[in-house]
């Protein structure tokens, strides 16, 4: 389940029209959400509130043997009107799941952001500040996010902890998203790590598309059923003189696709000879299946993970949605991430499950009970018959 602060941050991205998914780092976000989900441990309580459209606070309390907690504050210069409380939020916004990628859009022209008032430019760049203090651990997390331009964003995150080398680390990330391609440049103080990431979307170029109001654009985009993207990343640690690189490809269907939505990725690490292929498909309205296969050509090590995600809906809605074939197509469309115009409160819960090669099973049930968001999860190791339940946990969230 998405933490409240992550949710607010996502809302900030949406409000400032920043496409998170158009980044090489999120190339296989779907597979990660379906296969690498975290099961809660122990009991966790989160109480959060967006006291004003610009200010959010969150308090967390976790009890796993020892009680620890966190206090976090968030400030956004942009009024976040799209943040909903836990009773109203759509579950698919509050839960990581299958990413229905929308069509890439043409970024705003820088001129569009300019606001002039009496001959003086008064517009300011949107900024988000976030801090979180973990209390007994004395760890401080800080985030500075600034939308420098319609195509640019600066993200500086820092962690301060006395146990870390040098007392903490800072990561600076400059992101550039032109729609057709995106690039990221990062620097981490930890080992003086420098990184470059890039993603290129083949095919449709939103910048060359006809203007939206011409009416042809909709037809154009509808014809494009999918998108193929390729990307690469290179890292080099200046201090430890070691680096890494990878390249990756993704094919995903777009909402205009008439068949079952699916996402395929292939990532290759040429340095260490690692291949990873993922395949995720939405088989029906409320079920997503995903598989991931890892293989290393040097060590012949392989790994296979299977996972699924099942959305439970209210019964009456289910009947209502069994419509004609064209209606089904529209349904897929409406499932898009940002097509949140209509409120989909028919989802009552999501069951996520995964199983690895070692018969390690992860189960997670996320849902809403009255005004509370909760998630119950467990990690089961079938190889240990005496004590199969490795972790069991409950997380409860209340946002207002």
């Amino acid at each position: 389940m998405l933490g409240f602060m992550d949710y607010v941050q996502k809302s900030f991205y949406r409000a400032t029209k920043w496409d998170e998914d158009n980044s090489y780092a999120n190339l296989n976000a779907t597979a990660r959400a379906l296969l690498d989900f975290q099961t809660p441990k122990g009991l966790k309580l989160n109480i959060s509130s967006l006291s004003s459209p610009n200010f959010a606070t969150s308090y967390g309390l976790a009890s796993l043997g020892v009680v620890d907690g966190s206090v976090s504050y968030l400030y956004s210069s942009r009024a976040l009107d799209n943040v909903l409380n836990s009773g109203d939020v759509e579950l698919k916004d509050a839960i990581f799941g299958y990413r229905d990628l929308k069509e890439i859009t043409k970024p705003d022209a820088p001129r569009d952001w300019e606001i002039w008032q009496g001959g003086v430019r008064v517009d300011r760049r949107d900024t988000l500040l976030y801090g979180r203090m973990y209390l007994p651990a004395s760890t401080l997390e800080a985030l500075y996010l600034r939308r420098l331009a319609p195509t640019r964003q600066l993200k500086i995150s820092a962690v301060s902890n006395s146990r870390l080398p040098n007392g903490g680390t800072i990561l600076a990330l400059l992101q550039q998203d032109n729609g057709k391609y995106s690039s990221e440049y990062l620097y981490s103080t930890d080992v003086a790590l420098i990184g470059i990431r890039g993603l290129y979307n083949f095919g449709f170029d939103p910048r060359k598309a006809l203007p939206h109001n011409s009416g042809n654009a909709a037809v154009d985009s509808r014809k494009i059923a999918g998108r193929f993207s390729a990307g690469a990343e290179v890292y080099w640690g200046l201090l430890n003189k070691s680096g890494g690189a990878s390249t990756g490809f993704r094919y995903t269907t777009l909402p205009s696709n008439t068949g079952s939505p699916l996402t395929m990725t292939l990532t290759v690490n040429p340095i260490i000879g690692h291949f990873q292929a993922t395949y995720a498909i939405k088989a029906g309205r409320g079920a997503v299946f995903c598989s991931r296969y890892d293989f290393n050509i040097y060590s012949y090590e392989s790994d296979l993970v299977l996972g699924c995600e099942i959305w439970r809906r209210k019964q009456q809605q289910q009947q209502q949605t069994t419509k004609s074939e064209t209606g089904a197509e529209e349904n897929w469309q409406s499932n898009g991430f940002t097509t949140g115009g209509e409120k989909e409160d028919d989802v009552t819960g999501v069951l996520k499950a995964r199983i690895t090669q070692n018969f390690n099973i992860g189960l997670l049930w996320e849902g809403r009970f009255k005004q509370l968001l909760f998630s119950i999860g467990s990690n089961i190791d079938l190889k240990r018959r005496d004590q199969p339940f490795r972790t069991v946990g409950v997380e409860i969230q209340y946002n207002s």
């Binding site: 997390e141 981490s188 430890n240 990532t267 690490n269 060590s299």
Partner: protein, 604 residues
Amino acid sequence: MAFNFNWHPLTADPEFYSRARDLLTAALNKSPKPPIIVADILVTELNLGTTPPDLEILEIGDLADDRFRGIFKMEYSGDAYLTLQTKVQANPLNTYLSTAPSFTSPQPLAASAPLTIPLQITLSNFRLSGFVILVFSKAKGVTLVFRNDPLESLVVSSTFDSIPFIKDYLQKEIEKQLRNLFQEELPAIIHKLSLRWWGQDYDSASSNTLQSHTTQNPTLNSGPSLSAKSSFENLSEQAENGGSPQQQTFSFNNDLESDTLSSKSSLRLATLTDSQRTLSLFTPSIREAIYRAWATTSERSDPTSTPSSTSGTHSSTTYSMDGNGARPGLVAMASSLSISSSSGGLGPNGRPVTRSSALGKKKKTRVVNLRRKKDTSTSDGDTSSIAGSSVPESTTSMEVGYEEKEHVEASEAITSSIPEIKIPPPSLAINDRRGEYVDVSPLRSPTGRESFLANRTVHHAGSDTKIPPTPSMPSPPPHQTSQQHIIYPSEKGMPFHSSEYSREGSTPASLFSGQYSPPCQPQQLSPGHHSSASSVSMENPFLESRGRTGSSSSIAEKAWMMKMAGEMARRWGEERLRREKAEELLDEQRRRDGSSPPPAYHQS
């Protein structure tokens, strides 16, 4: 006292390596591993090589049948090697990310993909050098501590030798881990292991190891102290072998108890000690033993005639020190002696009172104080030797030690005109522990040794002229010349003993000087940091008793004399060691004295 350390039998035992491998594997996997190591570390090969380490005894602070405390200087540059197998993470980005906080992680997509590679590491060319403090107590097990970081260098060769970065990294990591192992893990392992050995399976384990020892090393059978020593040596050896807590051959005292103490007498001794602890009125009588009350009263009653009276009484108690017959008694003394000294200063407190009350009724009050008992027995031992019973060749070095002391006392007692003053010196001479010297002297100066020396000279000022040279003796550091492999064959030592005794008996001066100098050396020679930890802790119990006994000096002196006499037995072992170290020095002294050096010492 002899140290016989046999390296080859240790390494020849086929079971030894498998057990050592298991222990090492367990030890290496216990501590948190660096993130680059992703699997358990397996010890596949272990060889201790053929070159034994050099051990140099710097100081023996405490020595008894069930206790030992010593400082060794250990140097090793042998051909031992160790092969480990594990799996390492070959992607440096992966290891970096595993330690970095997730909030600031750059979140690479696939650049951090893991690649585990089996790795074989061979550690060889160990160069170790350090000071080892070894403390053994039967109740508390073995504690082995490195004063400093013993690892000087080692060669790490691995499957990645062709890649310099990884090679350097491995070398650095492994050295770090080994240092940690030596200084933190190894003492804990050895301690735990020793407790296990002395625990429920103590008997079987020790008998096994004893057997292996005896078969391989016949000289070890000769005396309990020898086998104990050898196992000590083993311990310190193991420390060098890449921290392998192998086969701890704790065979101390095992043979001792079984051979020399019958179950009945050990039971009696136990009751005696218990009676003292619990203030029980019942004290079992032990034959062939002199109770302290007798000895003290006799001495107390007639200061001038003390030597004769003591000798008379003691000889009448039929305590003969001859050969094997005396052995059980001696061992009993030694064991109970250790009990007394370990149980601190309770004894001195009550003792003067009982003694003074016993003054009037000679030999009738049976205030049996077990702690003192051995002291009395030792003192009676001297008297017996005084009486003229020539000491036959005893097989154990421990016995030799006793007898020699007895001679010392005897000679002292004979030559000195004033017995009250004289009796303390022998004990002083044998005791090199600072705290005890100070006990005798009413003025306790912080520098124990100086005060002791001053004290001594005061005591002997009138009696003899030989004392003055003593303080100057210790100056040449004997332990520079000494070597680790001090094999002290007791059989060979015998002729020397007998010859020296006779010589000493005739000329107490030479004996005194010869005997005196060794105790001084360790303290002067050992740098401050060596002695600090051990000696301070040792002195603590005596500081207590010192305060109490200081009030009644004359009584205290006697009490101390008795105690000293007991302590002599223990001390003697150390002195002999020191004397061994100071071989050259002693030779000079002997030349000065006109006596030829004993032949046995040259060989060892």
